[in-house]
Symmetry: C2
Subunit: 650 residues, 2 copies
């Protein structure tokens, strides 16, 4: 590997340099610190009464020789701890907390003890199946767990500058490098669940050690190759056939083709999007335009053919996967919370390279809708699956809808999405700004402060707004010496008209790929005001999305709306709206922690005229009625009820 | 049991007294005789190259001691032979065929040899599991197989007056009566798959032996009772727990409640409808008004809450079952061919008691649509599942649509629906007419001849029409002595205006419950002409059927129409129609064996204006285009393509 100049036009401002202070996000931020981190720590230690056992800490204690016993849980159980650690680390990056830091350090010591002498680290295999290490890369998640540990390690190092945990991961990765690779005697294997690729790129950036890029590159390039036999067939053969029910459809693992030949987003949506994120990172560091083109092609296929209007991806519950273009059923959407989060991560990487609001628009869409819908307002209920239409009566009965839960589930049924949304919320700061030598990019409109160096001048930037409920954003700058640099602020794709004021004066600013580039000699106290028009928008789908034919969705700013039975009565499908009406928009402080709602007129069959027969040659008369739409992310906080995002258009 | 007066107001004219000679049905009738009966006989004998083995005849040969070996196939494999026998018997009823009669008699001898000394008859258990007889009534289909044998036996007896096969069933039923019953030492069990109930009622009618009603009554009354323990729990306990994966949801078996307490159609749709048919028969013979009321309640729930517009029932592939009211997804309809056939059977029994066209309308709907769609025009392809909307691209990929086959399957993958539709087609004659002392009922408009006795006078009746392609039906009578009686002809529910001519003179006739009662002193050569208006009708669903909101179906006469990609291009969901247009109706002789099509104007997004993005705030312009609808039953005869019954309304 040659360490070249990067492709990226900017770098994210790091988490520890961003303080969030925002009406919309503060409650979520507080949830993480006050509720989610302690709750999950108790869960990992099996101190939650009535919850399914986790045994995660116990597993490590057994592996560390501190306790006797067998491993309990999934092959990827270790990653529950690692994801929690990453959340804690993110939280410590912006707010010191000695107690949690102490807990974290104790955990690091425990992990160190659980690590084998040769660097191997995975309690499932160390304790129960030491002879089966690295024999089933396709399904066994050893590299997946390693990836999450690496991410946690880097986050903790960046938050605290402590290096002990980096020692653990360095030893682990060196071990992996002896086992896997393209040299004589090594296995040419790569993870069935991508994750370590993007983690290795983080580790490289934290340590500047090229060997981590090399390993990432090996995993990515080897994927889906036939040498001449596919590695997953090789290892299947070596272990003497299937050890458990073996999935031979390698598109599920994004291993159906070498990655450079892939053109469509296939398989398990989270695996896919983690992989693509790692590919962007690698393309960036290696200045590999060809690989970047692959990422762009996959991106276009994803967002233009296979993404819900909420930013949810993965439309099939079976295999939690992408299916085919335009197959986006609303009532059987899978749209795993984790997949929306992974889409945020992927978009964030793309925009650093291309500085185009097409990426940040999707990032924002997934963040405010498809990801946030995964957690209840009180942080105690979760959705793994985020359908766009729910009919409890039917969903509770039909087998083909059994993954759709009409109400949120408690924390710890399975531990995949909840910690993932926790680490998203805890790391939100890193998605807001990017910088390069002479530009600061404002991607998201989230109140708070940051600081950076522009043209050698230290600058403090603060952002204030009532976003997403209105489109007025104020940015203030503080700096000692007046300096020329560019504030490149995103003009959201949903916004048809934006005015920009600099120090109170309206200003015409060039817009490049959806970013307004305001280049000034900035002085201390300068302000930028952004006024985004934020009317209710009527959204329609591509005509090939058959589930949405004749239907519209309501959007205002980045927020996708839905109808809930609670506000509109049952049988939401019977309700239709005229789209040429003027909608009422109203902030309701006491509703759902404070939300802006949309009200208007709808039509519905006159209930009194309906006959008790299924089919008729009559046209039932309709009556006019009011409707009320709430933000999609806030649905299912008032008990089990019907919900729909797509509404019939009259 | 006391043999009372029956509830029924009429009795069907028997198959052997009805000759079908009809433009629409002749090709189907010929298919049965010329293609299906010989093909299936070869299949039962494993003489079809490339087909999955059946081994049905071999199983009997082994049980009969004529061959060595083990039983092969399903626990209900024997019923494949019995259903085929019933088809042959129906066919022989109207057309003598010495060769097939010889084959049939040889089969009877084989079955006789396979029957055990005590009367037991089931090759699966006799050969492989003699110690497990009658230990799992819930799942083991011994009574189901017995039921199909009884039906075949009665049909053959009625066709040929031969009694040898009645001897076999008599011995079998006597054996069953020793094992099952409410006396000391007997098992209080009843079949997990109802079927024998209606068969026993047929056997009773053929033999006039009350013991068969008694057994039927026992099975029906015992069903779902707790004595105090549910029988399926009793037998589960007795056999020491689950022998295979045990379904404890007894609604699947219609055994969740005693039948008299059941109010909604639940569980496996074929089981349910066979049971309800047997219940009607029993209620009728016992003049049991209470039981009849249960049947009526179940009927109303079925047809007014849980039936597709095609007469298909059972909206869930999982467990092939009814789900909840108004849950009728079109693209994941299960609507097994057998269930539509069973609905025909149930409706036929109801109308004998109630003389109301609400039953015959459903019978006709299921016959011309949901049942007939199960077989291809050449008789070589079959659907078990009859969806109302098919998107091959998606259905071939999505796991939750995996039972939906976008093209018809060849004969013998599993052998349940093909023989069932064969026996329906072969027995069609029995559904057309009913009689009582002074009335003849014309339920269906199918050309041909029949004869009956009305007020002691032998009458021959012939029917001519081009139905269902037009609504003109001519009925002619032949009788020696002018006699007063009533011709009660159905006025179909789909018909808004009908004219009736007697001997060419228009006549006002009283309509009672959808039957025009023409009472005359009839003479030889008298004619009745029925002129049913048959315009294209726009059908809408009850507003709670969410899948059909904003959509219409097209119907003309009894025929439900659909759009196929073959005629209309792909993306049928993007097509919408104005319902206030005048549709064109045209008979196309060379299309799909001759069908009447519907043509009209539709709107569709202007393909040239569509952008390659998923979501937009634009309204894409639409263009006007023609559409062409074909009868639903005839879809999927021109290769894999999209299809939809429900069309968006503009």
């Amino acid at each position: 590997m040659k360490n070249k100049k990067k492709l990226a036009k900017m770098e994210p401002i790091k988490l520890k340099n961003v303080i969030i202070n925002d009406l919309f996000w503060n409650p979520w931020k507080n949830l993480v610190k006050e509720s989610i981190i302690p709750y999950q720590w108790d869960a990992l230690n099996d101190r939650i009464e009535g919850a399914e056992p986790s045994r995660t800490i116990t597993n490590f204690e057994i592996a560390a020789g501190r306790k006797e016993g067998q491993h309990y849980g999934m092959v990827f159980q270790d990653s529950d701890l690692y994801k929690w650690m990453e959340t804690v680390a993110f939280s410590l990056a912006t707010e010191k907390d000695e107690e949690w830091e102490k807990v974290f350090d104790d955990v690091v010591a425990l992990i160190e003890d659980a690590q084998e002498k040769d660097g191997y680290l995975n309690t499932y295999f160390s304790v129960n199946y030491p002879d089966q290490k690295w024999t089933n890369l396709k399904n066994d998640h050893e590299l997946y767990c390693a990836g999450h540990l690496i991410e946690a390690a880097v986050a903790y190092y960046e938050a605290t500058s402590k290096t002990q945990i980096l020692g653990v991961v360095s030893k682990l990765v060196d071990h992996i490098r002896t086992v896997l690779g393209d040299k004589e005697g090594q296995k040419r294997g790569y993870p069935g669940h991508p994750e370590i690729e993007l983690a290795l790129m983080k580790l490289y950036k934290a340590t500047n050690e090229a060997k981590y890029i090399d390993l990432c590159q090996f995993f990515i390039e080897e994927r889906g190759r036939r040498n001449p036999v596919h590695y997953y067939d090789v290892e299947l053969e070596e272990r003497g056939g299937a050890r458990r029910s073996d999935n031979r459809d390698y598109d599920y693992y994004q291993a159906h083709l070498p990655v450079r030949e892939q053109q469509t987003a296939e398989g398990h949506a989270v695996r896919a999007t983690y992989l693509y994120s790692g590919m962007v990172d690698l393309a960036n560091e290696l200045e590999d335009e060809e690989l970047l083109t692959v990422c762009r092609t996959l991106w276009e296929n994803t967002v233009n053919k296979r993404m819900y209007v909420t930013g949810g991806i993965g439309s099939s519950a079976h295999e939690e996967r992408f299916t085919v273009d335009y197959d986006l059923p609303n009532d059987r959407a899978y749209t795993e919370t984790c997949a929306a989060i992974a889409l945020v991560m992927w978009a964030h990487r793309m925009v650093q390279i291309e500085a185009n609001n097409e990426y940040t628009d999707v990032l924002e869409k997934a963040l405010y809708n498809g990801a946030l819908s995964g957690i209840s307002l009180d942080g105690k209920g979760y959705f793994y699956v985020n359908p766009l239409e729910v009919w409890p009566h039917t969903a509770n009965f039909r087998h083909d809808m059994r993954t759709v839960k009409p109400t949120r589930q408690q924390w710890f049924g399975c531990a995949c999405c909840p910690p993932n949304i926790a680490r998203l919320l805890a790391s939100l700061g890193q998605y807001i700004y990017s910088v390069n030598e002479s530009e600061v990019y404002v991607h998201l409109f989230i109140g708070g402060e940051t600081s950076f160096i522009a043209n050698d001048q230290q600058v403090a930037l603060s952002q204030e707004s009532n976003y997403p409920w209105d489109g007025n954003v104020k940015i203030s700058l503080a700096l000692e010496i007046p300096t020329i640099f560019t504030v490149a602020t995103r003009i959201p794709g949903w916004c048809r008209h934006a005015d920009i004021f600099v120090n109170g004066m309206k200003k015409d600013v060039p817009i490049e790929n959806g970013y307004a580039k305001i280049t000034e000699q900035w002085s201390d106290g300068d302000t930028i005001e952004l006024l985004f028009d934020m009317p209710v928008e009527i959204i329609r789908s591509h005509p090939e999305v058959r589930e949405n034919a004749g239907k519209v969705a309501l959007q205002r700013g980045p927020i996708i709306y839905c109808l809930e039975e609670q506000d509109n009565g049952a049988n939401l499908q019977d309700l239709s709206i005229h789209t040429n009406q003027t909608f009422k928009v109203k902030y309701e402080e006491n509703l759902l922690n404070g939300v802006t709602i949309i009200e208007g007129k709808a039509s519905q069959t006159d209930r009194k005229k309906i006959e008790d027969i299924l089919y008729t040659t009559k046209t039932y008369p309709e009556v006019e009625r009011d409707f009320k739409a709430i933000p999609y992310y806030a649905w299912s906080n008032r008990g089990e009820n019907e919900m729909t995002v797509w509404i019939r258009e009259r």
